[in-house]
Amino acid sequence: MKDSRNCSTVQLSGVLVTLAAAAVVVIVSIFILSKTPFSTIYYFFIGPFANKYYLGNMLNSVVPLIFTGLGISFAFKASMFNLGGEGQVYAGGFIAASVALLIPSLPGVIGIFLSLLVAAVCGALIAGLSGFFKMKWNTDELITSFLISNALIYTIDFFITGPMDDPTNNLLATRKIASQYHLLRIFPPSSLNISVIIAILAVIFSFWILFKTNHGYELRLSGLNSEFARYGGINIGKYIFLPMLWSGAFNALAGAVSVLGTTHCCIKGFSNGVGWNGIAVALIARNNPAAVVPAALFFAFIEAGANSAMINADVTIEIASIVKAVIFFLITSRVIYNSFRRKALV
């Protein structure tokens, strides 16, 4: 409408109010939990930006979150719930590493491309299986994706610690992948690599798919009102299955870029929480690919801040998780979000 610009500033102020509320709560909890609250607050908020290494690593940890955030958003957009992100991320990393290890001599660009592609396809098939069950027999995808993911995690554990383990070291990890498979580091000494560019491209691509293409239009309509979509001649069965494919593919890419870009081997349990956090990122971003980036940044910042406070101040892992919990309690509150909007409108 005519005041749409006004509307978006009002919306922004809603977000800011929420963030401010979260920040206040963080500071209060730090005062309660830390013996040196001022330095803790300093390291929590400033630490992640203190030097190139911290900053780069924080940005690097945004990348998988962007991918899982996109993955979950794709499913949510179609009203599908992918609870198997954890296993899909893990599988993506594992497959990417396997490709690199099986064909170690491929030239760099082709090898990387192939490895990402195979990972994405496998991830798509894994999540797609849940979509298929749902389409075919109306089996709850929330549960099947979760169960399949769990079964998968154990299976991959077997390969990592068994047949694919590197006998020359004591890491619970596959052998290191050949160096031409490594994604180029762009912000030394941090691990930040060109996967950040891939992630941005993925965001643009998702945005384009969801909001600019026919596929995205039909997918979104099927999610918002499947009866309407069916009435309009859209094949809604397709949009039960396809979104899960997208979702799995993006989740798998999250794992694949972590392996090719950061760890250079598939470490046991490396996906630890990325799949879950992706759900949080997607929900905070309200399933909008464009908003996934700030949401993932916010998320990574909280993690990095907690880590920095842990390393430089007297905060422990547990306190960091309490602070994170408190933020989660508030971050999606519509009451806090609206408290400012209402005033702005009246």
Partner: protein
């Protein structure tokens, strides 16, 4: 990081996972604390890296990058591999590894326990008990092992040691080996123990972190026995724990850190610590041990320990 001369010694004690529930990490922290306390002006800080192995490297780098620490001590067989690339970025940083091995790196000193010998002794004891006539021993020639998950040291040294030790008593003894899948599901551990006892096992070796509590409980209930790694203590489950293969990490860390503070620690060397070196042992003088295990078995067990210690018995230790 460059240190100014007048500053005291700063130590980073880096714990993979978390301290709690792991005897080795608890001992590392305690040993370091003691050494620091005895050297006024020196200080230490403990870091926990959490459960995600993939993040250990990055977190370790962050710690090193603060440039605040004269030395980093850490304990886990995987740490030398993780720290190699970090050492390249920070050529002034010194690393000390206990329960890990790396040789010939000028920034690093390492101390690896011979867990084969340790496990051999525990296997030997378990075999004696399952064959013996303690109240819980049965006729089956079966002992068991419950672990949280498989990892290289376990597969290459601990499990073979345990088996070889048992077979040295009676080659027909079998080891029922089962996995929980994590380090904390004590109830699953107890279910596993129950099903192993059903299958005729009467002595169970446990390496499963916090979940061990479930095994103690189940074995206590059913009158069966547990042998335990890495901790000197029988008191966690008196009457149930019949053997404890100790690593004297506490003392090792204390001595190593003391040397490091006094600048006498030799970097660039990896040392393997056998039973004969005194850091790997078997606790024989504990009252709970004495009151639980029959003298006959204790004598045989002590004999084995003494003969390994004196070098009389030489065990072929596999390479890690």
């Amino acid at each position: 990081g460059k240190q100014e001369e007048d500053k005291g010694f700063n130590l980073a004690v880096v714990v993979p996972n978390v301290v709690a529930g792991s005897p080795l990490y608890e001992q590392m922290v305690a040993g370091a604390e003691q050494a620091i306390k005895e050297h006024p002006g020196s200080s230490m800080k403990v870091f926990e890296l959490g459960f995600n192995q993939a993040e250990w490297g990055e977190k370790m780098t962050s710690i090193v990058a603060t440039g605040l620490y004269d030395a980093v001590i850490t304990s886990n067989p995987s740490m030398p591999d993780i720290c190699k690339s970090i050492a390249e970025q920070f050529p002034m940083q010194k690393f000390i590894f206990v329960d890990g091995y790396i040789d010939g790196h000028p920034q690093m000193a390492s101390f690896l326990y011979n867990q084969y010998e340790q496990s051999y002794m525990l296997g030997h004891l378990s075999a004696l008990i399952t064959k013996g006539d303690m109240p819980g021993s049965n006729a089956d020639l079966k002992i068991g092992m419950i672990v949280a998950q498989e990892y290289p040291v376990l597969n290459k040294m601990i499990l073979p040691g345990f088996k070889d030790g048992a077979k040295s008593v009676d080659p027909s003894i079998t080891v029922d080996f089962r996995i929980i899948g994590n380090w904390y599901d004590a109830n699953k551990a107890s279910e596993l123990a129950g099903s192993m006892i059903d299958a005729g096992v009467d002595v169970i070796g446990v390496i499963c972190g916090g979940a061990a509590q479930g095994v103690f409980e189940e074995c206590g209930k059913q009158g069966k026995y547990v042998v335990f790694w890495d901790d000197v203590s029988y008191s966690k489950a008196p009457g149930v724990i019949v053997g404890s293969g100790a690593l004297y990490q506490n003392r090792l860390v204390y001595e190593v850190i003391t040397k490091a503070i006094e600048n006498t620690l030799e970097y660039g060397k990896g040392q393997k610590l056998n039973v004969s070196d005194g850091y790997v042992g078997f606790v024989t003088e504990d009252p709970d041990y004495i009151s639980t295990v029959p003298e006959e078995i204790r004598i045989k067990q002590k004999a084995l320990f003494e003969s390994i210690k004196s070098g009389e018995t030489v065990l072929q230790t596999p390479e890690l």
